[in-house]
């Protein structure tokens, strides 16, 4: 089988001869061209997603005061952040909530820091011989602190189930407002544009892969948490519900609030929209086939969030979901997305331009992800 290497593709990028398409463009091309023709013609396919991803946050180092303090309890604009690491290091988790306003939280602090806004810092420590100061109240900005390193333990889910609600009460969930009697169904992921659906076996994405993260260049740090390769797949290798995930990292000081946005879901809490773009190298005909995947070929499972066990009610695909109505056991159900296709397109387009402008080169994964993983669940003692 004919092959291209990442090295060859990068040489083409530097020579200005690489052919780069967005995942939507290549899916359209795939309707009329064979995988062989796509392999011969296309070098890189840019994929993207812009959805709410709760498992996100940033490490921050505030810098030392004089005299110094060992910060043991910290709030930023009254949002508690994790202080259980070294003296002036902290982790701002996206879902942490303000003590006074449940609609404001870590996601908002992260967005505002990236936007250059001033944030109120309050910290307390017991006082030690080496860190005698016991209290501090000050303001910080992204320029006043040492580092803001985004580290998101679980982003870019490979597919996600559709949520509906068969109960007789409105359910307010992380999948949005779900009206009773399956009146509506919400879906996430950007379908044929979504990164891990374009490389379903994760052949080109692994530890160390350079990505677009929140407007900056970031990296895949590890497999994401709840990484699951055991989900049933369809004939296009697409897992039929949430499967692989990515842990990603990058310099939040270089990011843009255009691609990192705080969210609040009614009666659920705060989350964070994260913009991720991943270039997929068309290494061989199999990869050409994978990136040509179309919405109608990407199936997903419909879950009932009205029941705590989330039983499956059926399957559908992204072409149906994007039509605005699906059929569920004979019932017509209105559908709506949760992730922004507009923003995902913007990111895929931006990444394409960066590659064509020789600002973004592809990387060989330092290591591939584990295979044959499945999930453990939590047992209760009483």
């Amino acid at each position: 089988m004919k092959k291209k290497t990442i090295e060859e593709i990068n040489r083409k990028i530097s020579e200005g001869t690489a052919v780069v398409l967005t995942a939507e463009e290549v899916s359209l091309l795939g309707k009329t061209k064979s995988p062989e023709e796509i392999f011969n013609r296309v070098d890189v396919v840019t994929t993207a997603t812009f959805g709410p991803m709760c498992s996100s946050g940033v490490f921050i180092n505030f810098g030392h005061s004089s005299p110094a303090i060992r910060m043991e309890e910290i709030t930023l604009n009254d949002v508690p952040v994790y202080a259980g690491i070294a003296a002036v290091d902290a982790y701002i988790g996206a879902t942490s909530e303000s003590v006074f306003n449940k609609k404001y939280g870590g996601g908002h602090i992260i967005e505002e820091l990236i936007a250059g806004k001033e944030i109120r810092l309050k910290a307390r420590g017991k006082g030690t011989d080496c860190y005698p100061k016991r209290e501090i109240e000050t303001s910080i900005t992204k320029d006043s602190v040492n580092e803001i390193i985004m580290f998101n333990p679980r982003n870019a889910y490979q597919n996600y189930p559709v949520a509906t609600n068969a109960s007789d009460k409105t359910k307010y969930t992380y999948m949005g407002t779900l009206l009773p009697g399956c009146a509506n169904a919400n879906y996430s992921t950007s379908g044929e544009l979504s990164p891990l659906l374009n490389d379903p076996k994760l052949r080109s994405i692994g530890i160390g892969t350079r990505i677009f993260l929140g407007g900056a260049q970031g990296y895949v740090a590890w497999n994401g948490t709840q990484f699951n390769t055991s989900k049933p797949r369809n004939e296009f290798d697409i897992p039929l519900s949430n499967a692989a995930t990515l842990a990603v990292t990058g310099n939040a000081k270089e990011m843009s609030a255009e691609y990192i946005k705080a969210a609040y879901y009614e009666k659920y809490g705060v989350s964070l929209f994260v913009g991720i773009g991943i270039p997929i190298p068309v290494l061989d005909v199999d990869m050409a086939k994978a990136v040509s995947i179309r919405n109608e070929q990407i199936e997903t499972t419909i879950y009932d969030y009205g029941d705590p066990a989330h039983p499956a009610l059926g399957t559908t695909n992204y072409a149906e979901l994007q039509k605005g109505e699906i059929s569920l056991n004979g019932l017509k159900v209105k559908t709506a997305p949760l992730s922004s296709l507009k923003k995902a397109r913007e990111i895929a387009g931006k990444l394409k331009k960066q590659i064509l402008d020789k600002e973004f080169y592809l990387t060989e994964p330092v290591n591939i992800f584990p295979e044959n993983t499945s999930l453990n669940s939590l047992k209760q003692l009483i």
Binding site: F50, G176, L179, A183, Y264, F273, P337, L338, S340, K343
Partner: protein
Amino acid sequence: MNTRYSISFPPEKIKKPIISELIRNFSLEINILNADVSSGKTGKLVVEIFGKEQNLLNGLSFLNEEGIFYRQIQKELIVNINDCIACGSCTGVCFSGALKMSETFNVLELNSSLCVLCGICIKACPLQLISLNSNGKIV
């Protein structure tokens, strides 16, 4: 012409078939968009009234005579479209068709004339960009 009104009934007027009289005696068509009526409580309705202008004026005079408070709803749903990321979450709960994604999903489209002021979309927007202004507020 059609116009939207919010109507408040004092508890003692609950027994009187006001809406029915507006329809029969003043040749008005009334579409109830939202209702909160129970005995012993001030009843609240949001209605859309269709009919000839003179009939409407006569109907409103009748409401005045009956001591029923009404006010025209002029301003409606406000969407801060500049900050909208076009995620689409609000469209799933909008059954009047006032909030819709464009065919390409690139823009949220608001058609205020279809809005029934149910307010469900306000809570469905994760960026909290949707509100009802004070005049249109369902209280």
